[in-house]
C-alpha cells in the first residue's frame, strides 16, 4: 500500500513537473467570437512551448517557401523581438475606423493582437520567446540552411 502510494506520488510529481515545464514559456491564447446570429466561439489556450515543438514535425519541404522568404529578415526580426522582450509594455499600433478597432500591444512577455469589427472579435496573445523560437525554426527549414 505504501509502495503504491509512493509510485502514485512519483507519477503525480512527474506529471506536475512536466506540466510546469510545458507551461514555463507562457501560454498562447486565441479567442474568436463571431457576432452573427449563429455565433461561433473559438477559444484555444495552449502552452507556448508546444509551438516550436510542433514545428519540428512539419516537413521542411512544406516550410520551404516561408523559410526562404523569412530568412533575409531573420536578423531584423531577432533584433526587434529582443528589444521588444527587454522593453516596457507598449501600444505598438492602434487603428480606429468606423466599425473596426485594431490594437497591437506588447504586454508582459507577450505580443497581443486585438481586432474588433462588426462581425467578430479576435484576440491573439503569444509569448515573445515562443515567437522567437518559431521564427528561428522556420528560418532553419530554409533550403540554404539544409545544404
Amino acid at each position: 500500500m505504501v509502495l503504491l502510494g509512493k509510485v502514485a506520488l512519483g507519477i503525480a510529481g512527474t506529471a506536475l513537473a512536466g506540466i510546469g515545464l510545458i507551461c514555463s514559456e507562457g501560454m498562447i491564447e486565441v479567442n474568436v467570437v463571431e457576432k452573427q446570429p449563429e455565433a461561433h466561439h473559438v477559444y484555444v489556450l495552449a502552452p507556448a512551448m508546444l509551438l516550436p515543438i510542433t514545428m519540428h514535425f512539419i516537413p521542411s519541404r512544406n516550410l520551404g517557401r516561408a523559410a526562404a522568404e523569412v530568412k533575409p529578415w531573420i536578423p531584423t526580426i531577432r533584433a526587434a523581438l529582443e528589444q521588444l522582450r527587454a522593453g516596457e509594455d507598449v501600444t505598438l499600433v492602434e487603428v480606429r475606423e468606423p466599425g473596426q478597432h485594431v490594437l497591437v500591444t506588447k504586454t508582459g512577455g507577450s505580443v497581443v493582437v486585438d481586432v474588433t469589427d462588426e462581425d467578430e472579435i479576435v484576440h491573439v496573445s503569444a509569448p515573445i520567446r515562443a515567437i522567437e523560437s518559431t521564427v528561428e525554426q522556420v528560418a532553419a527549414a530554409s533550403p540554404e540552411t539544409q545544404d
Binding site: P72, P75, T76, R78, A79, A80, E82, Q83, L84, A86, G87, E88, D89, V90, T91, L92, V93, E94, V95, R96, E97, P98
Partner: protein, 194 residues
Amino acid sequence: MRKGIRAIGVSCLLALTMGNLAVTAMAAPAPAERYLHVKVDDASKGESVNVNVPLAMAQAILPTINKGTLHNGHVTIGDTDFNGVDVRALLDAIRTAPDNEFVTVKEKDQDVRVAKSNGNLIVHVLDKSKDGEKVDVTIPMKVVDALFSTVKDNQLDVAAAIRALSDAGDAVLVTVQDATEHVRIWIDSHSSSE
C-alpha cells in the same frame, strides 16, 4: 577565535559589497525608454492610426535591414535627389550661423519659411489653396548633423539620426494639417500616444 574574526570580516565585506551595489543602483536609475510616435487622424472618415516605436528598437533594427537603398542604417540617395546642391556645405553654413530666418517665400498660393532657432532647423510650409495644408517640421540640428555624418556624400546616416533623436528631449518633429487630416510625429518617454 580566528574563525570568528574571519567570519566577521567576510560579513563586513559582504555588507559593503551589497551596500555599494544598492548605492550604485539608486544613483543610476535606468534611463526612461524613448518612443517615436506617429498619429494620423482623418476627421472626414473617422479614422485614426497611432504607431509607437521604441527608439531602442528602431536603433537595433535599422542596421539589420539591407534592402533597396537602405543598408546598415544608411540610405543611399541618387545625385539627382539633391539637384546638384551641396547639402553638406549648406548645412554647415546653417550650423555655424546664428539663429536666423534663411528662406522666406511668400507667393499667392504658398508660404515657405526655413529658419534656425534654439538649435532646431525649422521648416514651415503653408499651402493657401483649397485644402489649406500646413506643414511644420522642427528637427534638432544634432539630428540633422547625425543624418549627414557619413563619409559618403550620397548617403544619409539614419541610424545615427535615430541615436541623436534618443538623446534629444521631448519634441514635436512634424505636424501636417489640412482640411480633414492631421498628422503628428513626435518623441517622448510615454509608451502610448495619449
